[in-house]
């Protein structure tokens, strides 16, 4: 986490926009760094000033609020917070799969593009299932022929990783009590 991200995190904490999990991590960090606590105190001061909450005794409540927050750390772990206003940066949400790095979707074979046809039925919102053609007319498809392998462009990898993570949401409940899908994320450090 760089300095700007940390400042953003502190600011979000002051605005009560952090998830409980993130609060717990931040508060643990605060307990170990005087400088960080002072930085947080400044943020509270700024926040109170901007909102007109600063009483006649100046920052009288400031230290108490910080202390109270620190003391309450264990209790924070179960608290529910809003998703907040800090949005995911573009492509950052694929970090799950990005963490899986090249292991996730590393290589593609080149493949000739199949021509589109116009003899199909359109999908319609909410009622697509009934419009699907019967599923039993499979016509002896052939396995794709690999031509040569090449490493994916990083942007393509990110896109595919996003698909993988999203698809996992739907598969998680169907396999091994939900474990296996996430095992692929947590346990693949040396995959292809």
């Amino acid at each position: 986490m760089n300095t700007e991200e940390f400042k953003e995190q502190l600011s979000a904490f002051v605005d009560d926009e952090l998830w409980a999990e993130e609060q717990a991590f931040l508060l643990r960090r605060l307990t170990q760094s005087d400088g960080t606590r002072e930085q947080l105190a400044r943020y509270y001061l700024i926040s109170d000033t901007l909102r007109g909450n600063l009483g006649p005794a100046g920052s009288r409540g400031l230290s108490a609020r910080v202390a109270a927050a620190l003391e309450a750390e264990p209790a924070l772990s179960g608290a529910r917070q809003s998703w907040g206003s800090r949005l995911l940066r573009p492509a950052a949400g694929l970090a799950v799969a990005a963490s899986v790095a090249a292991l996730s979707v590393g290589f593609w074979t080149t493949q000739p593009q199949a021509p589109a046809t116009s003899a199909s039925q359109p999908l319609t919102a909410g009622a697509a299932t009934s419009l699907i053609s019967p599923a039993n007319q499979t016509s002896s498809p052939t396995m794709p022929v690999s031509q040569h392998w090449e490493r994916l462009d990083p942007e393509v990898q990110k896109r595919l990783n996003g698909y993988l993570v999203n698809h996992s949401e739907y598969s998680a409940e169907r396999q091994v009590g939900g474990v296996l899908t996430y095992v692929r994320i947590a346990g693949q450090q040396n995959a292809e």
């Binding site: 991590f25 493949q111 589109a116 599923a135 499979t138 939900g178 346990g187 995959a191």
Partner: protein, 335 residues
């Protein structure tokens, strides 16, 4: 002569009875396998457990630990790697948090509460039978616990097979082998230790990574999936037998400026997702790839990228992706 005839009749009768008994036994085994299969998901929804397991795929071997707590608040789970980077995944009823120390990031992803497949593992086992054969293989032992081994064998080349070891005491899954068409394990997961204590502390569900300087990423506020508001420009035809459309929605995915059309196909046990999104032609991609047991296949159609991913053989993702085509009026609409 008469004796010979009688003897022949007797043999035929005995053989007939034996076949009948064998057939009945086979049906009984299949029914028992169905009950065990259905019970796996039910056990996971109702049983708290913690244990260590190994995960093996394509020559890689990893050890992980899982803590799974069922309470009035629902199911909460913590999964963390014991080998390699200390990745942890913590999920509850509404979100999954991925702690990724090797990337110094934490990713929080909100789960789809309306996921129609939740808890449907598999809802209709009978519906699987045209596409899978269920076997009761016999007794087994995993992690020092008595288990029953069942087999789920595909009847065609479009899906993988499974071997499951089910804990006799709890109904939990102790071991899972995903099998290729050649009968080779593609992906294996096996508990080496499993306990089902009456109580699991909340502390055991807390991540242990320090993460002081991690970046935190999360999806934006608001629903990430919506029902399409207009007819799709895309049509689906010639799916592999047994696969049906289970979900059709517009998704907001990280990294995509516009909503992505998501089609989820399921045969009751196996899922394949198709994602369709508008894309700069220079960024399109075509071909196959694979991660673990997940296959992926992409193709470009006009200005769109169509990609299928799922825990299926390559031929299945390709067939399904190729079955998704622009409809008659779709070309103008899609552009």
């Amino acid at each position: 002569m008469r004796n010979k005839l009688l003897s022949s009749c007797t043999r035929t009768t005995v053989l007939g009875w034996l076949l009948l008994v064998a057939s009945a036994a086979q049906a009984d085994d299949s029914a028992q396998a169905q009950r065990l299969l259905t019970g796996i998901s039910e056990a996971a929804r109702t049983t708290s457990y913690e244990g260590t397991f190994i995960y093996r795929h394509r020559g890689n071997l990893e050890a992980l630990r899982v803590v799974h707590k069922v309470s009035e608040e629902g199911v909460r789970e913590r999964l963390y790697a014991l080998t390699g980077p200390a990745r942890e995944i913590v999920r509850d009823n509404e979100k999954v948090s991925c702690y990724l120390p090797d990337d110094r990031e934490v990713v929080i992803d909100r789960l789809q509460l309306q996921n129609p497949l939740n808890g449907a593992v598999p809802k209709d086992v009978d519906g699987l039978l045209p596409h899978y054969r269920l076997d009761l293989i016999g007794d087994g032992r995993v992690a020092g616990r008595e288990a029953v081994q069942i087999g789920v064998w595909p009847r065609d080349e479009y899906r993988y097979g499974y071997r499951f070891w089910v804990d006799r005491a709890t109904g939990l899954l102790l071991r899972s082998d995903l099998m290729s068409g050649e009968g080779e394990p593609i992906e294996q997961l096996m508990f080496t230790e499993l306990l089902a204590p009456a109580e699991i502390s909340d502390a055991a569900l807390q991540p242990s990574v320090e993460g002081y300087d991690f970046s935190w990423r999360r999806l934006e506020e608001g629903p990430t999936a919506t029902v399409p508001t207009q007819p799709s420009a895309w049509a689906v035809e010639e799916l592999p037998a047994g696969f049906e459309l289970a979900v059709h929605e517009m998704r907001r995915l990280p990294g995509s400026d516009e909503p992505v059309e998501h089609l989820l196909f399921s045969d009751g046990l196996t899922n394949v997702s198709v994602y369709i999104e508008k894309i700069n032609p220079e960024e399109s991609f075509s071909g196959h790839s694979r991660v673990g047991a997940v296959s992926a296949y992409g193709k470009a159609v006009d200005t769109h990228q169509v990609t299928a991913v799922g825990e299926v053989p390559q031929i299945t993702v390709e067939t399904i992706a190729e079955a998704v085509r622009l409809s008659e009026n779709g070309s103008a609409q899609a552009n």
